[in-house]
């Protein structure tokens, strides 16, 4: 299972890549694998203010559905509209295809997230 080093992870299997005030976020390889073929992604609205762990979207596969929780608080400044037409991109490359970009308001949210090593151990425990 692919868990890139430089990202931060949530226990709900989201990742975030922090770049100054911006955080790109998406779902992990573990999440896409367990969901199976993803058929639909409901994206948040640009401009929406979100709190940490608040629902910002829904990911549907044929036989399952998962809520996307925001890894950090802030404002949604961009969404990956490509996913509306091609949700399978999340299966093909879950880290290359971000879902939303958040303008972070409080970097302290990030302190509670897991490193790649911690997330790898977390997933191991779930199996």
């Amino acid at each position: 299972m692919n868990i890139p080093k430089k990202l931060l992870y949530t226990s709900e299997h989201e990742w975030i890549r922090v770049d100054g005030e911006k955080g790109h976020c998406g779902i992990t390889d573990y999440a896409q694998h367990h969901l199976g073929d993803i058929v639909f992604v409901e994206l948040p609205e640009v401009g929406e203010e979100v709190a940490v762990a608040e629902s910002i979207g829904v990911i549907e596969s044929v036989k399952a559905v998962a809520t996307l929780f925001s890894p950090a608080g802030g404002k949604i400044i961009e969404v990956n509209e490509e996913l509306e037409e091609a949700p399978e991109l999340l299966n093909e490359d879950p880290y290359g295809n971000w879902i939303a970009i958040i303008e972070l308001t409080d970097h302290s949210d990030l302190e509670k997230l897991m490193s790649a090593e911690a997330y790898a151990a977390f997933c191991e425990n779930l199996e």
Partner: protein, 482 residues
């Protein structure tokens, strides 16, 4: 490839005509222009014989209980007696307008009233509403009455509903739809409600517990009285999901177990057909303390006449136009009348016997996680076949189609991985069950020796496995003219 009815369109081929009419033509402005339609409809035009052949052909690519064995767990696919169909189509029952005066529908109201009474006797409840149109609809009414009951006592803090982890998906969905937050109660190692977990979660914010008994593993909740006591002592009410009533009917009654409100599925337990997905009927029964909250109207008997009682100021209102699926009630009424008390007990005994017989005959070839006395159904899984050759439950289900059977319910309940839920019902003969056992054993053998045969099944069906992913990614949900 089977053509859609729209692809059989031949202009001017439809022969439908109205009788002549000797009255003046309509004034052109009798409906003002702004109300008139401009958009095309484009319904297909097909001759009568081609239309009849079209629908007949569709029926040949369908499979009903009359076609063969249908061991769909939790769905109680029993034989649907033909006299019931005949009765429901009598002009004196099918040709009644719901707003006719009560004195012109006394026979129908008697059926309605007697159904209320008979269902109350069968389930041990004090009163019934026959209004809900399906099981999930009945669940909704039941949970609404629970909410109305607490609210009427000025108890507004009970905002949560408990549901076991083995429950039908409708239970949590219903609780949510009525505005409750769902708390999941764990099952223990025996597949029954974990009493410690229940005790820990019951408090003054919990409105009640929704329970199926026998549960979705086909197991009877042996500690049901203790469960009821925990919920009642905590101020909650106990809801009975009647989906599995066939496993206890005539032997034990939910009302005697401590349940306060329940629904029954006439289309499962009471022999009415499922109609390829409805119409069903989901009457709701309650103990006396909930009677006032039932949907209105109920049918009452005054002197020798039957009538509707709308004088129910605490009623939750209505969940369906008119009085429910009367046509379905007629069929269930004939069914209960045909069987009588003894016959009803016997359906349960034979349903449970058939389930235990199948469980016994399949245990050598399939893993049965909780292999002990079951009620009307039991849950196996594909563990042996998966360990051997990576065969999944879906593969086994699809291979059964090649053998001419409708597959059991699969991947439910969620607490058993790769579940195969088998409910034979009482209307299967030993010969049928034995044939099914032979088919299941053959599939187990194929899974071991010729796994490709199973993995690529079905081979003999109208189509092979379908691409569900594309269906959901790029939905095509209606026909468009090319």
């Amino acid at each position: 490839m089977s053509k859609l009815i729209f692809e059989k369109h031949v202009p001017d081929s439809n022969p439908f005509t109205l009788p002549p009419l000797a009255i003046p033509a309509v004034k052109p402005d009798s409906i003002p222009q702004q109300f008139l339609r401009e958009q095309k409809i484009a319904l297909p035009e097909v001759s009568e014989v081609e239309a009849v052949r079209h629908f007949t052909e569709l029926s040949t690519r369908a499979y009903g209980v009359d076609s063969g064995f249908y061991p769909l767990g939790s769905c109680t696919m029993k034989y649907n007696p033909k006299i019931n169909e005949w009765a429901a189509r009598l002009p004196g029952l099918a040709g009644l307008h719901p707003y006719q005066a009560e004195d012109t529908i006394q026979g129908a109201l008697q059926i309605y009233y007697e159904m209320q009474e008979m269902l109350a006797e069968i389930t041990g409840m004090d009163g019934f509403s026959l209004q809900p149109a399906a099981g999930a609809h009945g669940e909704m009414v039941g949970v609404m009455t629970i909410k109305a009951y607490h609210h009427n006592r000025q108890d507004y803090q009970r905002t949560k509903m408990m549901v076991p982890d083995s429950a039908h998906g409708t239970n949590p969905a219903t609780a949510n739809m009525v505005g409750f937050d769902v708390i999941e109660v764990k099952s223990n190692h025996r597949g029954l409600v974990d009493l410690d977990d229940l005790r820990a979660k019951m408090n003054d914010q919990v409105a009640g517990l929704m329970l199926t008994n026998p549960n979705t593993l086909g197991l009877f909740e042996e500690e049901i009285q203790e469960i009821a006591a925990i919920v009642h002592e905590g101020g909650g009410l106990l809801y009975y999901d009647g989906a599995n009533l066939n496993g206890i009917i005539g032997i034990a009654r939910p009302g005697d177990m401590g349940f306060d409100v329940l629904h029954v599925n006439l289309h499962k337990t009471f022999g009415t057909p499922h109609g390829a997905g409805g119409p069903g009927s989901g009457p709701v029964g309650v103990k006396s303390k909930l009677l006032d909250f039932l949907p209105k109207p109920v049918v009452i008997k005054k002197d020798d006449a039957y009538g509707f009682d709308y004088d129910m100021p605490l009623s939750i209102g209505k969940v369906k136009n008119f009085y429910g699926n009367f046509g379905v009630m007629v069929k269930a009424y004939v069914y209960i009348k045909a069987l009588g008390a003894e016959g009803i007990k016997e359906i349960c005994e034979h349903a449970v016997l058939n389930a235990n017989y199948l469980r016994h005959q399949l245990r050598d070839d399939y893993n049965i996680p909780l292999d002990r006395l079951c009620k009307h159904e039991f849950v196996a899984n594909s563990k042996k076949q998966a360990d051997q050759n990576g065969i999944s439950t879906m593969d086994i289900a699809k291979r059964l189609i090649d053998y001419g059977y409708h597959p059991p319910t699969v991947y439910f309940p969620l607490i058993v991985s790769e579940a195969i839920m088998i409910e034979p019902t009482e209307t299967e003969s030993k010969e049928r069950l034995d044939d099914f056992v032979q088919a299941m054993r053959s599939i187990a053998r194929e899974a071991a020796e010729e796994p490709e045969l199973v993995i690529n099944a079905p081979h003999n069906a109208a189509i092979r496995r379908v691409d569900e992913v594309t269906a959901a990614r790029k939905p095509v949900v209606k026909w468009e003219a090319p």
